[in-house]
Amino acid sequence: MLRDITIGQYYPSDSILHKLDPRVKLLGTLVYVLSLFFFRGAAGFAAVTLGLAALIWLSKVPLRYMVKGLKAIGVILVLTGMFNLFLTPGEPLASFGIFKITEEGLKNAGFMVIRLTYLILGSSVLTLTTTPNRLTDGLEKALRPLNKIGVPVHEISMIMSIALRFIPILVEETDKIMKAQLARGADFESGNLIKKAKAMAPLLVPLFISAFRRANDLAMAMEARCYNGGEGRTKMKPLKYTGKDGWAYLIMAGYFAGIIVCVWMSRNGRNS
């Protein structure tokens, strides 16, 4: 049941996306997210959809596996859709009591839900194709210039990599404790909200304790290996750009230019 959470999970494969330098993918994700919020009109929508489809196809990760990750944010999607649908002022199309659906609302809701869905799918391509280690290596190197103005880049990326590393561990642990309590007759599903919240105690207390225990063990293990932060630390596998990274940057630039053209065209079209 909990194994369905795919956000932040790595999916091993040997696709071209898996082999790209993490910095390329980080910038790519940024560009993609920007384009999601920039695009206007049908042409832009088509470009973004095509881009996402190409990414998913290139990543060789089964689509079904990705869509499973969407389940977790289903509630947010529905809520966002509802708010936009009912609360946008404009020409009313239909009304139910105090609620009325407007044309603008319908449009907004549709675009918002699509944007959020694409956002999650697109950014999950990043984590599905990049191991947490490479991801934080990339982030550390990309943000290195900030070190000069006193931002502890290494520490931040270390925290991130530990956090990412712990997601699957804690998911597994939750699964285990849940099963152990189910075996003792616990019931996590039935009853009203208060009863359900109360039923969480036998799950959350052991989970917190185990998280603290693991954190403690990890801190101890790091101390024992004389870990002392980023100062003078070298990498076993330093990141190096190769030819395909260059091509990826080019494609990315082309994509972004395309999106800008779409935005410009739709704006001109509206003005004239």
Binding site: R3, S13, P62, I177, A180, L182, R184, P202, I209
Partner: protein, 286 residues
Amino acid sequence: MSIILDKVNYVYSEETAYEKQALNQVSLKIEDGEFIGIIGHTGSGKSTLIQHLNGLLKATSGGIYYNGRDIYEEDYDRKELRSKVGLVFQYPEHQLFETTVFADVCFGPKNLGLSRKEAELRAFSALKSAGLPEEYWYRSPFELSGGQKRRAAIAGVLAMKPEVLILDEPTAGLDPWGREEILNQIASMHQELNMTILLVSHSMEDVAEYVKRIIVMNQGSILLDGAPKEVFLHQQKLEAAGLLVPQVTYLMQELKGRGIPVSVEVTTLKEAKEAVLQAFSNRRLG
């Protein structure tokens, strides 16, 4: 009264890159009052197998029957099944959560819908059966030592008065004293409470001394199934599956190799002692 498994298959993370066949056509019959050891290398499917027995995992295909009833039937009460088939997970002390040991042990019986008084009576006798001294009962479970925590956690399952008790590596991470104490406690529960017991372990020593039947798992299927003596005869098969026969068996083989006429079909320390004495008295007579 029995548990029957009929060609049970189980696949983890079906249709993803992590897909793994954890159980492969496992068929098995467990009679009432048996004391069974399940052994196997890490990842051989032991833990997956036992989670099927109380319905925590649902087989990908195949059937499981408890006392003649199909547990996958629509109207089968799986919550009741879980109270009948008690499962003590690996490192069960990690599931303790209440403010006192006693309250924690009451959790199971309370979930069964018993009155407070009945739950406490059960907790009382469960803690006694698990052999946790009374002075610890009203302390926080987190103040206890590893071995005591484990007893408290085992009591938490015992308090549900299961007919079948399954323990997944109950001695993992305990010192030799703790191991022996826990195993003796389990053996006496088998005798006094007449429970069916399944003991999962990868230590042959643990298993050889106590159980009457051994099921050897390898790569998701049953490799061997029989009395300890029969199973340990298949030394090569066991070694190929990454397992060892008990150390005393190796010792006796070594002795025989050096010309001392002892029996090599020995699996426990007590038998080894007798075999050696026998060999010496034969020599004195001869």
